[in-house]
């Protein structure tokens, strides 16, 4: 099953986001070995050069590291993973706030809406 990619945005960025999500959600555990570039490209139905580029970027950010002969692995630095999670959450929240402002909702209303929604969700569980 090819990955669900939006061809109007650079593919390598979407691969990076996808791998980040897989690390955060625990699909990839710290220290796990990644499949080869070719296998991943095949799975995602993308060009191997694009996959290579995405993995190089992830390597640069430290989230994955490569060992010359045995392949690529997910970082074991839990602090780094936690940091990335916080950054992604912050980005989601500021996008949300910007959206709400567009709808003309005041900061006070945003707080109230958020509190209500969270409370509802908690009651459901």
């Amino acid at each position: 099953m090819p990955w669900n990619l939006d061809s109007s945005r650079p593919i390598y960025l979407q691969i990076i986001e996808r791998v980040q999500m897989d690390i955060i959600t625990g699909r990839y555990q710290p220290g796990d070995k990644l499949p080869s570039v070719r296998d991943l490209a095949q799975e995602a139905a993308v060009n191997p050069n694009t996959m290579q580029k995405a993995l190089s970027e992830l390597e640069r950010s430290g989230l994955i590291y490569s060992q010359r002969t045995s392949g690529r692995f997910i970082t074991e630095d839990k602090e780094l993973i936690h940091q990335m999670k916080k950054e992604l959450a912050a980005a989601e929240v500021s996008a949300f706030v910007a959206h709400m402002k567009q709808l003309g909702i005041t900061p006070e209303e945003i707080r109230q809406l958020l509190a209500e929604t969270i409370e509802e969700e908690e009651n459901h569980e």
Binding site: P2, S8, P10, I11, Q42, N49, T50
Partner: protein, 232 residues
């Protein structure tokens, strides 16, 4: 990464119609390149020139430093836009035919693909549907271990599910130092596997760029960018 294909002022005239007009182009090895353009823009003419089926009216084309000929046919695997195989032939005949002709033909690769697409080696071409014939031709083309694959409309008659299989076969089977030049109108189906695109219009090069750069700069897919550039 080395230069695999070079076109210098490549021109082809048919009578007083100019199909290719001083085209300058260079393609590196290790890339999957989409050759895109409206109908009659010169895509098939360019592929035929690369394969020595046509000779240039002006300018030249070089593949790994050679003019099209025996040396280049050894390393270029070509899928024409028309059926070129005898319709009386069985798939098994075609396999022998191809392995006689091309020393880089990989029989086991061909058999594996035929099996995945449930095509029996005993079937004759004339009993097959249009789409199945296209699959057979593409399998033959992709089963060579070539340096350059020229695919002219490879997936036009094939159903969407087989299209996905064929694209993954293309990804799977090409060596990292080989290049694939694909001419197609089905841009959205192929664009995720492309490195670069070439837009040609009325025989002239309009654009040669990396697909990720286009997505980055234009904020749209290659499919919608094509529609914008070639709006009628």
């Amino acid at each position: 990464m080395s230069e695999l294909v070079t076109c210098k002022d490549l021109t082809k005239r048919f009578g007083n119609h100019t199909a290719l007009d001083h085209l300058n182009l260079s393609l590196d090895s290790g890339k999957i390149i989409g050759l895109l353009g409206p109908n009659g823009s010169g895509k098939t003419t360019l592929l035929k020139l690369l394969n020595g089926l046509l000779t240039p009216s002006e300018g030249e084309v070089l593949i790994a430093g050679n003019h099209p000929g025996i040396e280049t046919k050894r390393i270029v695997s070509y899928l024409p836009d028309k059926m070129y195989l005898g319709s009386w032939m069985r798939v098994s005949d075609l396999l022998t035919y191809y392995s006689d002709f091309f020393e880089d033909f990989d029989m086991s690769r061909a058999n594996a693909m035929l099996e995945s697409l449930k095509i029996s080696p005993k079937d004759r071409l004339k009993t097959m549907s249009k789409g199945t014939k296209e699959k057979v031709q593409l399998i033959l083309t992709m089963s060579r271990r070539a340096k350059l694959y020229c695919l002219d409309e490879p997936i036009a008659g094939v159903d969407p599910a087989a299209r996905d299989y064929i694209l993954s076969t293309i990804l799977n089977n090409y060596e990292p130092d080989a290049s694939i030049l694909i001419s197609t109108h089905l841009i959205s189906d192929v664009e995720n596997i492309l490195d670069e695109v070439i837009f040609i219009q009325e025989g002239q090069l309009k654009l040669h760029a990396s697909v990720e750069d286009i997505r980055m700069q234009e904020g749209e897919s290659i499919d919608s960018y094509f529609r914008e550039v070639f709006k009628c």
